[in-house]
């Protein structure tokens, strides 16, 4: 078993991150957060978590490193192409019936999912009536998302995914390549609000037609997952859509009654009528 002392030290560290810096990881998946903290401890060269706690509280350089490392996520554009195909073929026809749309990419990390949706909405002729909200707790990730610049060696995979998702255009229409990087067209983010928002501590900020939150809930424990799903159901319009990661489900959540399956295989749900 995890050493009792180590468990105590990790709890103290998470408590300090919350009380001193207002970043709340206390209800994150213990297995995942333990793994990240263990790697960070090795990387920063601390002999134990108590020494790391001392660093966190007394060395101002430690906190940004720690929060950056604990929240970093790397995704891909059009990750799981069948999810985006399902949005395109099954969800978009419903979205077309609304004169204006709000889409929330919750936990947007470096923006890969946001740009995927922006491109999909442009291809489907919905972009002009849509406002996108891209939120994350990692300030560095929000900067990367707002910049929309990715390493060129990742573009091949993005392009394949985009084609498999039923893309109606070429991904190369949306970026310019230079110096080993692909810079995505700034017009894709004209209708995007990038914002610092925590699923742990922040509240509803709008009525959404679609919330896409993929591979974020897997990092939360059951309580926090339930809280987040409640936040999503409160944030969605009646019959609004929720898309999760392909191995996430509502099956093990107390909030499962708030949603109905729309496309179960793709983990797309619809808010139930209250």
């Amino acid at each position: 078993m995890t050493d009792r002392i180590e468990e105590l030290e990790i709890n103290l560290l998470l408590e300090a991150l919350y009380q001193r810096f207002h970043y709340d990881f206390r209800d994150y998946s213990k297995a995942s957060i333990t793994r990240r903290l263990r790697q960070l401890k090795e990387r920063l060269g601390y002999r134990n978590y108590s020494a790391m706690l001392e660093g966190l509280l007394h060395d101002p350089a430690v906190f940004p490193q720690m929060v950056g490392y604990l929240t970093v996520q790397v995704s891909e554009m059009f990750r799981d192409p069948s999810y985006f195909r399902a949005l395109r073929e099954k969800v978009v026809p419903h979205l077309r019936t609304y004169p204006s749309l709000k889409v929330w990419v919750a936990g947007c990390s470096g923006g890969e999912e946001l740009y995927s949706l922006a491109i999909l909405f442009r291809e489907e002729g919905l972009e002009k009536r849509t406002m996108f909200y891209a939120t994350d707790i990692n300030p560095r990730a929000l900067e990367i998302a707002a910049a929309g610049v990715y390493e060129l060696d990742r573009i091949k995979g993005f392009t394949e995914n985009h084609q498999q998702s039923g893309g109606r255009s070429s991904l190369s229409d949306y970026y310019t390549a230079a110096y080993g990087r692909a810079s995505f067209d700034r017009t894709l983010r004209e209708r995007v609000v990038f914002s610092d928002h925590s699923l742990v501590t922040d509240a509803v900020f709008g009525e959404m037609h679609l919330i896409s939150c993929r591979n974020v809930l897997i990092y939360f424990n059951n309580d926090l997952q339930d809280r987040t799903l409640k936040l999503f159901s409160d944030s969605l319009i009646r019959k609004g859509f929720l898309g999760l990661g392909s191995k996430e489900s509502l099956r093990f959540s107390s909030q499962s009654d708030a949603f109905q399956d729309f496309m179960l295989g793709e983990r797309i749900y619809q808010r139930r009528d209250p």
Partner: protein, 189 residues
């Protein structure tokens, strides 16, 4: 065997050539098998998880693809889905993660083994099968350090020896055997 009565879980990892060994082992486990089995095998990220269907058709124990937050049951084999790490929570549930690959692998055997060692301590058996990279060696030492039993597929007979050899270097005291010998030990737990 009474000395093994403490064992509550078996974690198995492998890569190239491991599916054959894995199915040889899993199909030996009896329908009333008590420990939980966790499996991480490297597969192409975009592969449909046919592994679960293949194993399910051959095995007496229940086989399912791991899902996030799935409660852990005895006598069930949970298979890591392609492109996700599988972790074990000490609350009796599974967890998945999309953290960066480890040894170019997601799912990674090290990630499974280390979290399972945290959750089960000495009540765990770790098994490293055939494979062509070093994933699993670090995790197997974590299982050993937590007091668990460590086992390795005989590198001289394995399809690919790199992975079992790396695990052996990390855990020289590990029990080494053919899939049949590993199965005979595991099925009496």
């Amino acid at each position: 065997m009474s000395s093994n009565a403490r064992i509550m879980a078996v974690a198995i990892g492998g890569s190239a050539g491991a599916v054959a060994s894995l199915s040889l082992i899993l199909k030996e486990l009896p329908v009333d098998y008590r420990p939980t089995v966790f499996v991480t095998v490297h597969l192409r990220a975009d592969s449909k998880s046919v592994l679960v269907d293949v194993l399910r058709a051959q095995c007496q124990i229940e086989v399912c693809e791991a899902e996030d937050k799935m409660p852990i049951r005895q006598g069930t084999a949970y298979i890591a889905p392609p492109n996700y790490h599988l972790l074990v929570e000490n609350t009796g549930a599974l967890a998945l993660s999309t953290d960066e690959p480890v040894h170019f692998s997601r799912p990674s055997i090290d990630v499974l083994f280390e979290s399972a060692a945290d959750a089960y301590g000495a009540a765990l058996v770790g098994v490293v099968l055939s494979g062509a990279n070093r994933d699993g060696a670090h995790g197997l030492s974590a299982i050993r350090a937590a007091g668990g039993i460590v086992m390795i597929e005989d590198p001289s007979a394995a399809y690919a020896s790199t992975m079992p050899l790396a695990a052996w270097n990390a855990c020289p005291e590990a029990q080494v055997g053919t899939p049949g010998q590993l199965a005979s030990f595991l099925k009496q737990l």
